[in-house]
Amino acid sequence: MNFSEGFKLSGLLCKFSPDGKRLASCVQYRLIVRDVNTLQILQLYTCLDQIQYVEWSSDSLFILCAMYKRGIVQVWSLEQPDWHCKIDEGSAGLVASCWSPDGRHILNTTEFHLRITVWSLCTKSVSYIKYPKACQQGIAFTKDGHYMALAERRDCKDFISLFVCSDWQLLRHFDTETQDLAGIEWAPNGCVLAVWDTCLEYKILLYSLDGRLLSTYRAYEWSLGIKSIAWSPSSQFLAIGSYDEKVRILNHVTWKKITEFEHPPIIANPKIIVYKEVEKSATVETQKLSFPPTRALASSLFSIPSKYDVSQVPMSLQYIKPVADRANPRIGIGTLAFSPDNCFLATKNDNTPNAIWIWDIQKLKLFVVLEQLCTINSFQWDPRQPRLAICTGNSKVYLWSPAGCVSVQVPMEGDFQVLSLCWHSGGDSMALLSKDNFCLCYLEREESNIHVLCKQSRHERKVVSLEMK
């Protein structure tokens, strides 16, 4: 495992181009595009204000930088460095901006969700879409980029509009049986749209591309409902994480529940492997980690290497009792993601913020639980293989694969707390982002610089620590 040197970064804005050749990163109002392999600066663009959002076009030829404060979007071309485009939303304001899948249109959402403006880079035409709904996830494009689904709100009713992205023609428009639609998500095959209701009600609706309601699923009533959903890459499963700390998995044939994954704070099944991150030096054992970890503590942890131990089950996870009388309680399944090969599902229960649960989808069983020392900031699957990268806001990056898991110290000078990470599309490197810096982490076949390797064979469950230098 190799690490690049650190580079400056602001606003955690660092993105690999879809073709995997370039890397865009922002430092204040500057946009820097590097070559992924050499990390040499290819282009340097200067925007009008501090960049708040960056997005590559699908063909990796253009890059948009949004400055919401100013209501401006600036677009740069990689091919023609002197080409420039500036979109000003004026007094309407700007809250969101994104590329259309064809990479030639930009969709700007104005303040108060008054409308969505579709700017074309090819023609002078400007389209407006009225009544977009302000919600968790109101716009969804199919994976092939042909269609866009948009959640709308008119006369206190929710509607879905399906657009053909090529000419922005309205294909279907239908109302949904939702109280207050919270989000929409296309299945990867682009034929089924999942629509879920507000968290006050557990309700998920499945629509076909032609607007037919395929199925409705309600697990329970009178209680906080869906918090997050995820389609499996094969479109075969729909995983629904909810506030009752459970993940329910629906199948794509009958749209009925296949199974239910509970997230109890006590793990009793001896077949489940629990990896617990422990500090390598015994002296720090007394310092119990507080939640959330203070800066001082985090910096003190900075140099302390850690490793994974296989815990003896039954064991209990660190559990946070949610505050009941406040909105958006820290409870339930907040994040969940399928591995690219459909074999695993990683979930995070917000009451046990230090733990990641990895489920075996083939057996529909809990497989592994990782308990970290700190709160998990984000996790992401390797786009090529079942390998999960986790960061917890400290100077380490954690990797899990069915073979075992490792804790890797990022060899950066100074305070480098990995707050976020993103994989390269090729799956052999990833960008680790801290508040002010970022670096690339290259994963090779011969993992040479791993501090601690915790190898585990499924049958023996032996911890083997390898010091490789």
Binding site: K86, D88, G103, H113, R115, L121, Y147, N189, C191, L209
Partner: protein
Amino acid sequence: MGDWKTITVPAPSSVLDSKNTSQYTSEKKMSPSSLNMQQVLRLPLPSSKSTHSFFSAFCTEENVEQSISYLNRELTTLGFPSLYAESKGKELNLISILNCMNELLVLQRKNLRAQEEVEMQHLKLGSDMDHLQNCYAKLKEQLEASKREIVGLQERDRQLQCKNRNLHQLLKNEKDEVQKLQNIIASRATQYNHDMKRKEREYNKLKERLHQLVMNKKDKKIAMEVLNYVGRVDGKRGGWRTDKTEARNEEEMYKALLRDYEQCQKQLLVENAELRKVLQQMKKEIISLLPPQKQKPRERSEDGIGPVLSDLEDDVGELNKENMWELSCETVREQLTNSIRNQWRMLKNHVEKLDNQVSRVHSGALTDKDVISREDHELETEKLELEIQHCKEMIKTQQQLLQQQLMSPCDDDTTVLLQDCYLLEERERLQEEWKLFREQKKNFEKERRSFTEAAIRLGLERQAFEEDRGTWLKQQFLSMTCDSKYSENVKTQSATSGSSDQDNHLMNTRSQQKKPRSLSSVPTSAELCQTIQDTPYSSSPCAISNKTTEESKPNQWEEIYKEETEKCFKM
């Protein structure tokens, strides 16, 4: 009875004393309590004197006639024959007097006995009464205790019922609460929705207004500055939006959908084919597993599913097997499922049979293994059985002994006692008493033997005495033949007067003397007969001889003896 005597006795004296009698009668009339008082007052006077003097006070030289007439009256009223020889004459009939006296004495004795019996009975009844009273008290206590218990239980029951009711009430309250809360939630939800809608409408209005304000104004700023327009990704130019494009879009959408469904179907087909393959394989394997049993069930179920199967087999035979599998029409499917089910059933039966066999073999093996232990077991059981037999015998002998013990003193009383449901302790006590009694009896028998011996001796002595007296009387008779008549009169007089007193006294003393003896020693009838026989034999020759000469004295003797014997009999 004894009290009565003392009361009745002064009556004749009061009769004699006219003053007294009047007083007595007047007093008698007054009240029984006063009479009692009188008695109490009067009684100390006679009691201070001896009974003998008291009797003599009743009959003095002066009032012999009166007392006789009084006695006569009294006796006649009691149903005895008159004391006088004739109904109106003043001559006393000695025989009847004696008879009366005897009868009175007999009566007296009878009464005494009856009194004793009654007293005994009274005692018995008293003890019974006590026992019953104890029982009653105990039962009453029990009743009270049970009543208390019942009350307690009822109280507990009531409390529990109360609790139950409370709990029911609580449950109902909770249910109501739940219902209420649900209603509240529902109403809140509707209210919330309503409010939301209202707010949203307002918000929409504002939005609309804002939209108008912001958008309608020719905002110069809302614009896109672009150096030059770029080409499309596909390199084509954007077409106009027409019906044609719309139709094309629709078409493409349906195409996409179709593609998806086709893919889906393909997957399903692949899955189906795989499953079919597995099914086919399974079927083949099942068939190969069941060659011997295949025939029997088919023959058995010739009329049932057999034909279908055979038909199917025929079909299979005719058609290419592969083709048959590809058929998916209803009929073939049904046949297939039927045949599979049948074969499965057969396989199941077979497996069950095998299982049974295996289990049987297993159990057989188990028994083989257990042989040694079983032998041990049998040996042990034999031992135990022997022990049991031994014990049983012991018990039997013990029982026999016990029964013998119980049966040996099996008299009427004991049977009665046994019949009475006495407790074991009482029985034991009684047995102990029996032992004592038997010892006493032995002693008494000894005593009686000595007595009989003494009686025999007495008889011999009396014989000698009689002989002496006979000789003496002969001499007397021979010496004083002249004034025999006078002497006879005197003798009779003295005999009547003296005997009435003396004999009475004698008899009393004798009876008193004899009483304890007769009570304590209970001679058997045979022995008694012997003694009686002994005595007459010894006395009869002389009595017969005496009768001719003198009747009074032997008669007296005889009377005494008779009485004695009677006494003996009655006791």
